[in-house]
């Protein structure tokens, strides 16, 4: 397997003078020039001269001993996270040309520590999708196999990491949107505990479910990024008033690891996925980890529960996009309601329309109790059950029940598409943190394993991720192409 340097390795190399941020920036820019035309991981890119100037500033800071925590590290930011210096489209025609007047808190925090934002990464429109094919700016391809999807909705973040078009990336995770791309591109993605990372500046899809989430080439990289971007933010009313140290000292001691596997749920996976998953579990037990099989109450209905809540929140959140304010397109004339129906009809793609209409349906008079209210009740059952289990063990599942599908393969059937999130939605319904790390390759396609931990156990999860990387040898995987 070809390798590329991780953030941790780069920072060490900058510190020792083995390489510098300018050299790193040139390497990243070369990779973008070589692969971007086909992969389509970015919607907008910073001017490369400006990137090189910032890298030169970083180089000088390293020289004079004034480097900050992420000095000279190049980051791709999902295009539903607000930036005042680059357009923020959320992958939608309706926001084409919108430049926010402010930066998301996470963007501010990363830049304050010396990170260089190189561009805005492609995504399924408004983060609604599991494959990366629903962007108004064209689908993203998987750098490991260009005929396949890289997973979604943070498709561009996973893809640019895999081909070396950034050193780390930000995504958002509403139902698995960083963890599926991580699994499909041999990278690492962490959905933090709900409230650990500020959502200020994230264009919302499902407020009660989503978190801005780091992606990297190793668990340690994800920890380094999360350490900078997490913590209390008064601008987000759901922000937790905590500021934990999330960077592990090293890989977990295997004998201290206890895993719980929801057997019947894992049994739904395709054979190659199951094989890769259980092969990793065998290696972990061989090193001394203990494993139990568990059944999780309510889990068989977690996916429809998740989708009911997600579409209801989507319908409400996307009501603000009426075609005049974001971006401002000046005055309208004639019938206002006809005008906005037309704008929304032209601005939204098919999947967004499907979810908005479904959301209106589950919230509508006469059906609200049967659908939305019932889902919020089942959510409590699932949340309580997962909180109980994760007090004694990490829940382990594959990241996805299938290998990365071919482009177009899942598009025609929304239920087939939604089923790709079967394992990942558990963490969003419960608010618990979940990590996906590469578990191996099957027919040259990456597979990922997911671990769900208790509330605010990011540090332990990431040290487990480091242990898995030691066992698989997959860290800094490079889809060289």
């Amino acid at each position: 397997m070809m390798r590329q340097p991780t953030v941790h390795e780069l920072l060490e190399a900058f510190r020792h003078g083995d390489t510098d941020p300018v050299e790193n920036a040139h390497r990243v820019i070369e990779n973008i020039a070589r692969r971007e035309g086909k992969i389509n991981a970015y919607i907008s890119l910073e001017d490369f001269d400006s990137v090189l100037e910032k890298a030169e500033d970083s180089r000088r800071r390293w020289m004079r001993g004034a480097a900050r925590k992420l000095e000279g590290i190049i980051i791709g930011v999902k295009d539903n996270i607000s930036t005042s210096f680059l357009p923020t489209t959320a992958g939608s025609r309706i926001l084409d040309g919108y430049v926010p007047p402010f930066d998301a808190t996470v963007v501010e925090r990363l830049q304050k520590e010396g990170a260089i934002i190189i561009g805005k990464t492609n995504l399924d429109e408004f983060a609604m999708g599991s494959t990366g094919e629903f962007s108004a700016f064209g689908p993203t391809r998987n750098p490991w196999d260009e005929e396949r999807v890289p997973g979604g909705s943070s498709s561009g973040s996973g893809a640019c990491l895999a081909y070396g078009g950034c050193n780390a990336a930000l995504g958002s995770d509403t139902g698995g949107s960083v963890r599926l791309p991580a699994a499909y591109t041999a990278t690492v993605g962490l959905k933090p505990t709900y409230g650990l990372v500020s959502r200020y500046g994230l264009i919302p899809y499902g407020n009660s479910l989503e978190q801005i989430s780091p992606m990297g080439l190793s668990s340690l990289d994800v920890a380094l990024i999360l350490q900078v971007m997490s913590g209390y933010d008064p601008l987000d009313a759901t922000s937790l008033n905590v500021n934990p140290d999330v960077v592990p000292e090293g890989p977990a001691d295997p004998e201290s690891i206890r895993l719980c596997i929801p057997g019947s749920l894992v049994g739904m996976s395709d054979e190659p996925v199951k094989k890769s998953f259980y092969s990793l579990i065998d290696r972990l037990t061989g090193e001394g980890a203990s494993v139990d099989t568990v059944e999780i109450e309510g889990v068989e209905k977690a996916l429809p529960t998740y989708y009911t809540i997600a579409v209801a929140e989507a319908a409400s959140n996307l009501a603000r996009f009426e075609g005049t304010l974001y971006p401002s397109r000046g005055d309208y004339s004639g019938d206002y309601w006809r005008f906005i129906s037309k704008s929304r009809g032209e601005g939204f793609g098919i999947e967004v329309k499907r979810r908005i209409l479904m959301g209106v349906y589950v919230l509508s008079e006469g059906y609200r109790d049967e659908y939305y209210l019932a889902a919020t009740k089942v959510r409590r059952i699932v949340r309580d059950e997962l909180a109980r289990i994760t007090k004694k063990c990490f829940i382990a599942t594959p990241a996805s029940p299938v290998l990365p599908p071919k482009l177009g393969e899942a598009l025609g059937d929304p239920l087939k598409l939604y089923a790709m999130d079967a394992y990942t939605v558990l963490a969003n319904l419960s608010g618990l943190p979940a990590l996906v790390v590469p578990s191996g390759f099957s027919s040259n396609l990456p597979t990922g394993v997911q671990f769900i931990g208790g509330k605010l156990t990011e540090r332990s999860l990431l040290s487990l991720g480091m242990l898995v990387e030691e066992l698989t040898g997959i860290r800094g995987a490079y889809a060289g192409g």
Binding site: T308, S341, I356, Y371, L373, A374, T376, K377
Partner: protein
């Protein structure tokens, strides 16, 4: 439920959601809504096995931050909107607030 998920009900949903659909979208979504609503209706069935479960709207319901924390606004509308787009109350001018003003 049959009636609500029929193509006729779609017209009402489209009207409420303020969304225009073209013919192709209308036919695809009409077909999908019925399947998806049937799929989502499984959720209420599971509740028959449980007593009265309270709904959960926020995963950490016990630790919701107070609204007062939001009061310190970092962005002022006048920083990025032209004056004509802001009403006398300092809010963004939107048509539905102007209904009935003549």
């Amino acid at each position: 439920m049959e009636e609500s998920t029929s193509c006729g009900a779609l017209e009402r949903l489209v009207e409420i959601a303020k969304l225009e659909l073209n013919d192709e979208e209308r036919s695809v979504i009409c077909r999908d809504l019925e399947r998806i609503s049937r799929y989502l209706s499984q959720v209420s069935a599971i509740l028959e096995n449980y007593g009265d479960v309270p709904p959960l709207y926020h995963v950490w319901e016990e630790s919701l931050a107070l609204r007062s924390r939001e009061r310190d606004r970092r962005v002022s509308l006048s920083d990025f909107l032209d004056a004509w787009k802001i009403d006398s109350g300092g809010r963004v001018k939107v048509p539905w607030r102007e209904v009935g003003r003549g």
